[in-house]
Amino acid sequence: MDALPQIKPSMMARFKDSHFWHSFKRDRVAQFCFGIFSLALLLAIFAPLIAPFDPYDSAQIDIMNSELPPSWEAEGDAQFWLGTDAQGRDLWSTILYGTRVSLTIGICAVMLQAFLGIIIGLAAGYIGGRVDSLLMRIADVQLSFSTMMVAIIVLAVFQAAFGTELYQQLAMVMLILVIGIAEWPQYARTIRASVLAEKEKEYVDAARVMGFGTARIMFRHILPNTLSPILVISTVQIANAIIAEASLSFLGLGMPVSQPSLGSLISSGFEYIFSGAWWITVIPGLVLVALVLVMNLLGDWLRDVLNPKLYKG
């Protein structure tokens, strides 16, 4: 993965010749997962254009339409092909918007994790010594409190402090902040390990001899070489963040029902599962599981392909 900037024109050619591309072409599962993920991403981005209804617009919601089963069931209405939820919202539209919310929170939270983790990891690995051991000790402590535990407590306390209404307006930001801050050690540890390995290599010495400053060496020379672990972690972390968000929303500590993520949609449907309205829970549940599963499978595949450790054979 030594991406030298000089040979930029042939980057595409180099990519097509890489181990990465070759194993992608061979691996059906990876292609399938990538396809599903891209589809979910596109649906989420263009949700306002695709969705037949706007679930945030109360004018379009008629409570008389509540709990209609999917259109293929006997009592279904052709207007709502996946049926409606307890408030009479079109389930298909709500799922599209919910996927959008879940992915937004997942990706933003992971970007925050990566940002913090990369900065701290680079600093710890490159500076070393006391700074390193202090930062890594903090990372240990942070990891020993589980993310879910920290998130539940922090969000619960904020909800109690702000009151439910104000909290619901801030929910998305709070979720991103909490999930983002709680998981930075995942990145920091890996980046630090890569930096320690890369630091020993000749090109870093060469860069230092040529008089490049520390920051430049870190960002221009070391960071590009830590891209593969970052990519592997990010895939799995987005999956984890989506699950965390869904769980928090299920507990009522996340997105409000008026602006549901997949998790809060499932949660709102749970009460009705006993009365037979399975679709409000099951369909968003399947979407959530599919989304997380393809991300996890992609993560596994990336780890197999990119991890040079596994090459030894």
């Binding site: 990891l143 020993s144 409190f145 589980s146 993310t147 879910m148 535990m149 539940i152 407590i153 619960a156 306390v157 909800q159 109690a160 402090a161 999956a239 699950i243 869904a246 769980s247 299920f250 507990l251 009522g252 500590l253 998790g263 499932i266 949660s267 749970f270 599962i273 006993f274 399975w278 829970t281 549940g285 959530l288 599981v289 997380v292 599963l293 991300m295 996890n296 499978l297 596994d300």
Partner: protein, 324 residues
């Protein structure tokens, strides 16, 4: 052993100190105890007088000192809702949560060890691939969906299991009961335990598998084979004992996660444990109860981590616990 205990004790103090500060800040900023006690009908002057009297206008440190002093004696305030000492309310719910954790731990150990070892020994077999595939799916299903799925299939459709609650319990003392000693209680425990286990099980299977595979590559395993001893002994003594070391460490970290997920599991199954109580307390802004929960969870954390360290030292001879 002595040095170890001292070190542990020190760590425990630090953790409890941090938790107490957090808890106190919550108590200090959340809700107004006066309003809870007096209601709205009291004048502002009386209110101020009361504040002075109760020491609510004292500097932060003084108030914290007072809080700590009471906390050490087991007084964490009175629950606004239950009108009982918060600690008592929490401790009454502790057995239910521990039962759940116990059930889940049992399931995790019983399944993860053989499945992990099997898939490490036969990585190419179809059964191993199925194990790995299912565990990837398992990781991808959030715990509340597992719970809903189990309820839907086993409680609603098949009707084999109760959908919620703890069932009949066996009263040991006035404040201590257990569902483990009644058939009905055990019956109620099955679905929640499997739900709670479902999060950790795939993780542990994968962990045991990858650690075991690494150990099987090592020189001492090759040497064990070269000695001509039985495969059973190589796998289950030589390899497994070494596999356990990292698994125990990770297991210790996962205890925190497990406690967090009891909240989710208890909520879905309306299992009357601490987690369920905690969420109720959050919704009612019952601050003393929230604080008591945090402190009890912190204590559980410290105790279990110490236990994990002791077990680790017991398995790993290079860690000196018992100074000879």
């Amino acid at each position: 052993m002595f040095a170890f205990l001292i070190r542990r004790l020190f760590q425990a103090l630090v953790v409890m100190f941090v938790i107490s500060i957090i808890s106190f800040s919550i108590q200090d900023n959340l809700g107004d105890p006066l309003r809870e006690m007096l209601g709205q009908s009291v004048s502002e002057e009386q209110r101020q007088a009361m504040r002075d009297e109760m020491g609510l206008n004292d500097p932060f440190l003084t108030q914290y000192g007072r809080f700590l002093g009471k906390a050490v004696q087991g007084d964490l305030g009175t629950s606004y809702f239950f009108k009982e000492p918060a600690l008592d309310v929490i401790l009454k719910k502790l057995p239910a949560t521990l039962e759940l954790v116990f059930g889940a731990t049992l399931i995790i150990i019983v399944f993860s060890v053989p499945l992990g070892i099997y898939s490490a020994i036969n990585p190419q077999s179809i059964f191993s691939k199925i194990i790995m595939g299912v565990s990837t799916i398992g990781i991808s299903v959030p715990v509340f969906l597992t719970a809903i799925g189990l309820i839907y299939v086993f409680a609603i459709e098949l009707g084999w299991m109760p959908a919620f609650g703890r069932g009949e319990t066996f009263q040991i003392t006035e404040n201590l009961d257990t569902a483990l000693l009644t058939a009905d209680g055990l019956h109620h425990l099955i679905l929640p335990s499997f739900t709670l286990a479902s999060i950790m099980l795939p993780l542990f299977i994968r962990l045991i598998r990858s650690e075991m595979m690494e150990v099987l590559q090592s020189e001492y395993i090759k040497f064990a084979w070269a000695k001509g001893i039985s495969p059973w002994r190589v796998y289950f003594l030589h390899a497994f004992k070494n596999t356990m070391l990292p698994v125990i460490t990770v297991g210790g970290v996962q205890i925190g996660t497990m406690v967090a997920y009891t909240i989710l599991t208890e909520t879905v199954f309306q299992w009357p444990g601490m987690g369920f109580l905690f969420l109720e307390a959050v919704n009612r802004v019952d601050t003393p109860l929230i604080v008591a929960y945090l402190i009890v969870v912190g204590a559980i954390f410290v105790v279990t981590n110490t236990l994990v360290d002791l077990i680790y030292g017991f398995v790993n001879p290079t860690v000196k616990l018992t100074g000879k």
